[in-house]
Amino acid sequence: MLQDSGFTDVLIGEAVDTFGGAKGENKARAFEVYGYAFMARRPA
């Protein structure tokens, strides 16, 4: 989707257990939901 919008050089960081220990943990585990950092660039 980022590339479809014209972005390049897409980077994705390590998964973070965003919901671990929170009330939403069970639902997050069911769908393997994690947080990620993303970086992309608008071409010069």
Partner: protein
């Protein structure tokens, strides 16, 4: 060809506003996600930068990752924070770009905007401002930003392609999008995608 969206964008926005209004005004309440300083530590934010902020700048933080973990901002950069909430990431960004940079936070929830604006005033951060607006229609001129950041917001927008197109518009050529968001490793059933209550809870 117009993309068919899984939920009505306006209805979803109202649901999101309601949830984050509560996060702004009652940050100690119990949510399905973590909030505040504990969350910032879990997500790997620099302890010194977070520790320097007052409670009101951190307590309503409800991000899902650290958008600055892949690249630290440079002094003097102009930054747009999409869905800035109570301002936590904007204030962290303000520390990195310094007084020679600018940070513009955009949020659609009045209670979040009031909180972030008052915090910036109390901290004397003249290079940080907040504006009301939507991720799909940012109140920012074309090619203004060196960097656009966002944290846990795009997943709450029905039309993600429209959000990315708008971010592309406000970035200068060569500018960077740095955001954090959630992604699922297993597919979510179609009927669950259409259930608006599941988007925020």
């Amino acid at each position: 060809m117009a993309q068919k969206l899984p939920v009505d964008p306006d209805a979803l926005r109202e649901q999101v506003r309601g949830k984050y209004r509560e996060v702004a005004t009652d940050p100690g309440a119990s949510f399905h996600f973590h909030t505040g300083r504990g969350l910032a530590a879990r997500l790997g934010y620099e302890a010194a930068a977070v520790g320097a902020l007052p409670d009101r700048a951190v307590e309503s933080f409800a991000g899902v990752g650290n958008p600055l973990s892949l690249r630290r901002l440079e002094p003097g950069e102009k930054v747009v924070d999409v869905g800035s909430g109570a301002g936590f990431d904007s204030f962290i960004a303000a520390g990195q770009v310094g007084p020679g940079g600018q940070v513009l936070g955009v949020d659609m929830t009045a209670e979040m905007l009031a909180k972030s604006t008052q915090t910036a005033e109390r901290l004397g951060l003249g290079h940080v401002q907040f504006r009301e607006g939507l991720a799909e229609a940012l109140p920012v001129e074309d090619a203004w930003a060196d960097v656009v950041i966002s944290n846990g917001v795009i997943n709450l927008c029905a039309d993600k392609q429209a959000v990315f197109a708008e971010i592309f518009r406000v970035l200068r050529p060569g500018g960077r999008l740095q955001f954090a968001d959630i992604a699922n490793g297993r597919p979510v059933p179609a009927d669950a995608l259409r259930d608006i209550d599941l988007w925020t809870g």
